[in-house]
């Protein structure tokens, strides 16, 4: 019974993500028009099902007459890049520090935990905006900002899980069995913490997509002419009363990406647990 449930979660979540990835990779091929091409005659053109629609602009056009569909497709590239790169880097940094704090204890733990305390005393969105404002806009800065802000999420969870694992008697058994400290950490503790980390990674990827969108929304992500979902939302917000769809489509895509990642995470959580996997 569990088997069937986790299958659909992983299948639907993973399938949606795979589709998004394919779209991002093949964007130049798939996009019907150049996303940067402006056509003032097509300004705020409605999508295909409404009157006055243009069949070459299936999802309508924005305030500068650019094709919404093509922009959506191209914007999948920065979104997914940020999700993967920032997600993985955040995971590496946060997990390393969390393992260290949880396993070493003592001063190392106090130091890392205090650092996490300080870090989480900043409103994360504000910190992201500030970082990007300071190091300059662009994909790199967005990624750096996400890593610098969100490592605490991994660190906290991994630390407490590591602590919980070190209370287990199998760790004592490993000491009696002559394993070295480092080996115990990597061969015994880490495999038990890893599933949690992977689930967190899917969560982190969805957060990265959102943060990227937020930064674009505030105008601080990639350069303003290359399309991003957040940027499109910001533009749509300006014309919301005349053309709601300009904002609605990128929002929908973000929603799909985020839901897919969460679904995948839920599915993996059961799939990676040897006891639940039965």
């Amino acid at each position: 019974m569990t088997g069937a449930r986790l299958n659909w979660r992983i299948a639907v979540g993973g399938g949606a993500l795979l589709a998004l990835a394919v779209i991002a990779i093949l964007a130049p091929v798939l996009a019907p028009v150049d996303p940067l091409e402006q056509d003032l005659f097509l300004e705020l053109l409605p999508p295909w099902w409404q009157a006055d629609a243009d069949p070459t602009r299936a999802l309508g056009a924005d305030s500068l007459g650019r094709d919404v569909l093509s922009r959506l497709i191209h914007a999948a590239r920065p979104a997914l890049t940020v999700a993967v790169v920032a997600g993985v880097l955040t995971m590496l940094l946060g997990t390393a520090l969390g393992l260290l704090a949880g396993y070493m204890g003592g001063m190392v733990d106090v130091l890392i935990s205090r650092l996490v305390d300080i870090w989480t005393s900043f409103p994360p969105v504000l910190l992201a905006i500030m970082l990007v404002a300071l190091i300059g806009t662009g994909l790199h800065s967005v990624i750096i900002a996400i890593v610098l802000i969100d490592w605490t999420r991994f660190c906290r969870v991994v630390r407490s899980e590591t602590l919980a694992q070190t209370q287990m008697e199998y760790i004592d058994a490993a000491v009696i069995g002559g394993l070295k400290r480092g080996v115990i950490l990597f061969r015994e503790v880490l495999p038990n913490v890893l599933p949690l980390v992977i689930v967190l990674l899917t969560l982190e990827m969805s957060i990265a997509i959102i943060v990227e969108a937020i930064l674009s929304f505030v105008g601080l992500s990639v350069s303003s002419d290359s399309p991003t979902w957040g940027g499109m939302i910001a533009e749509g917000r300006q014309v919301i009363h005349q053309a709601w769809w300009v904002m609605a489509f990128p929002m929908g895509l973000i929603l799909i990406a985020v839901l897919a990642l969460n679904l995948l995470g839920d599915g993996l959580k059961t799939a990676l647990d040897p006891v639940l996997r039965r």
Partner: protein
């Protein structure tokens, strides 16, 4: 090789007690093990029994150096392993293995049974090659009665008994000389338990193993142990061959433990029998409200801290002038001069929740009986030491009884049993206290109040500065007194000197009297 496989000398273990931490200060240390010594000959098995909190599990873990002892010495196969670091320990680990209490948490859920059993074989260098190690694991699994077919399974696929067999296989895979088994059958059904016990018994004989078998269940220990050690409060209460201990326990606590085990035989009236001991009821200091007299100095002051550490809910610290303050909020200063009956009756009202009374106040003029100017010193000693204590008992016995019972502890002296003419008048007053205490004990026996007489030897306080050594440290005396109360020893001989004199009196009374007389 000859000599015992494991020798432990005076092992102590203290761990920080985080439940009693204060702002900024480091948490205080709690003694988990206090002065444990034992010898384990090769091929023998030692059972360690005790109730929860006795320190038996901590002892097992300290022996295999999962915990670092605070002091003392552990010799394994002649080598001192007390302070070895993990790297140096590894050469010994091959020969000393452990089976854990909880087979669920002691097996890594993400490893197959075969890998779990092979792990120490590889890590301890018994085999260098992974395949050879797995082969050895198969053999160990066969030997543990599980069969090597289980090597491919995961722990969660096994039953509790099967998991415990994996734990056993892991422990025997390196062919150790010593195995420490901690409560390994406590979660199992009787029929599974019997199988596991039988298996360990076979392995012990086939492999010539030495076994340390820790359990709360005396009956289970009897099955495997050649010798038995009974623990209480981090100390060894009694030790001996298992036949001796189980058939003729010497210590009151052991007797009480044995008496409480329900055997599967019909025995009308068993439920109502109380242990027939020459001792008295055990009293747990934890949660009690204790009144201690004479806390301005010496033993009295040490008592206050020791009682707090033992978990007393409140301590009334009585001094003659009611002075003194303590950082712990549980301590209440009381003005109480035991020679003043008005003080005593006031205290009986203000300290109406007292459940344990420790009559510690006393004076000492170091005077001989005849070779002294006046009889004043003797009168004062009798007034304070004897009458003061008696009046306190008279005032507080009804208080304690009203609170549902408790204890009275009277500080006498080993000199109550033999006169040291150098301070002859003091000895007489202490003898009076000792005699009076026995009488009170009889009177209060049916009222739920345990009465203890403490007979310490010379203690190193300013009151005894003229007394010749050896003198015990106040803290040691107090620790022994509290241990005696918690173990239900009626007469508590605290300190080596007191035990020595007491033993001497039993063996050759005239010799002791002559020796004491010699100090004049």
């Amino acid at each position: 090789m000859t000599g015992p496989l494991l020798q432990v000398r005076d092992l102590t273990l203290s761990l920080p007690d985080r439940s009693r931490g204060k702002l900024f200060a480091k948490p205080p240390m709690t003694d988990i093990l206090r002065g444990i010594s034992l010898d384990l000959p090769r091929g023998e098995s030692l059972g360690i029994v005790g109730e929860s909190g006795s320190g038996k599990t901590s002892l097992g873990r300290t022996l295999v150096r999962l915990y670092q002892p605070t002091s003392g010495q552990i010799l394994f196969d002649g080598a001192d392993i007390t302070t070895l670091d993990e790297g140096a320990m590894r050469t010994h680990r091959k020969h000393m293995q452990m089976i854990f209490q909880d087979p669920q948490s002691s097996l890594n859920p993400r490893r197959r049974v075969g890998e779990i059993v092979a792990q120490p074989v590889l890590a301890l260098g018994v085999e260098r090659d992974r395949r050879a190690a797995l082969k050895r694991a198969d053999l160990a699994l066969d030997r543990a009665g599980l069969g090597h077919a289980f090597a491919r399974r995961y722990p969660h696929e096994l039953s509790g008994g099967q998991r415990q067999r994996v734990g056993i296989a892991r422990a025997i895979a390196t062919e150790p000389r010593l195995i420490v088994a901690d409560e390994i059958v406590s979660g199992l059904d009787v029929s599974t338990q019997a199988q596991i016990l039988a298996l360990l018994n076979d392995l012990k004989q086939d492999m010539g193993l030495s076994l340390i078998f820790i359990s709360h269940d005396l009956s289970v220990v009897r099955v495997l142990a050649d010798r038995v050690m009974v623990m209480l409060g981090g100390r060894v209460v009694e030790e001996g061959t298992s036949a001796d201990v189980f058939q003729g326990p010497r210590h009151a606590y052991t007797r009480q433990l044995i008496d409480a085990v329900p055997l599967p035989v019909i025995e009308p009236g068993w439920l109502d029998t109380k242990p027939a001991t020459e001792g008295t009821r055990m009293v747990d200091i934890k949660g009690q409200t204790v009144l201690v007299t004479g806390t301005s100095r010496g033993i009295g002051r040490v008592f206050v801290d020791a009682l707090l550490a033992a978990g007393a809910a409140r301590v009334y610290a009585a001094t003659r002038d009611g002075s003194g303050s303590h950082s712990d909020a549980r301590v209440v200063a009381v003005k109480l001069d035991v020679t003043n009956s008005a003080d005593i009756s006031t205290a009986a009202q203000t300290c109406a929740d007292t459940t344990v009374l420790i009559n510690n106040a006393g004076i000492n003029f170091n005077s001989k009986l005849l070779e002294t100017d006046q009889v004043d010193a003797a009168a004062a000693e009798i007034t304070t030491n004897y009458l003061g204590t008696l009046n306190m008992c008279r005032a507080f016995a009804p208080v304690i009884e009203g609170n549902g019972g408790g204890a009275i502890v009277n500080m006498a002296s080993i000199l109550a049993r033999v006169n040291l003419p150098l301070m002859g008048s003091l000895c007489a007053s202490k003898a009076a206290v000792y005699s009076m205490t026995q009488g009170i004990r009889a009177e209060l026996a049916s009222k739920g109040i345990a009465v203890f007489a403490v007979l310490p030897g010379a203690v190193d306080t300013d009151m005894t500065k003229d007394f010749p050594p050896p003198k015990a440290a106040p803290a040691d005396i107090v620790a022994e007194v509290l241990a005696g109360i918690q173990a239900g020893e009626a007469d508590i001989y605290a300190g080596d000197m007191a035990k020595g004199v007491s033993g001497g009196l039993a063996a050759d009374r005239p010799a002791v009297i002559a020796e004491m007389a010699g100090y004049v």
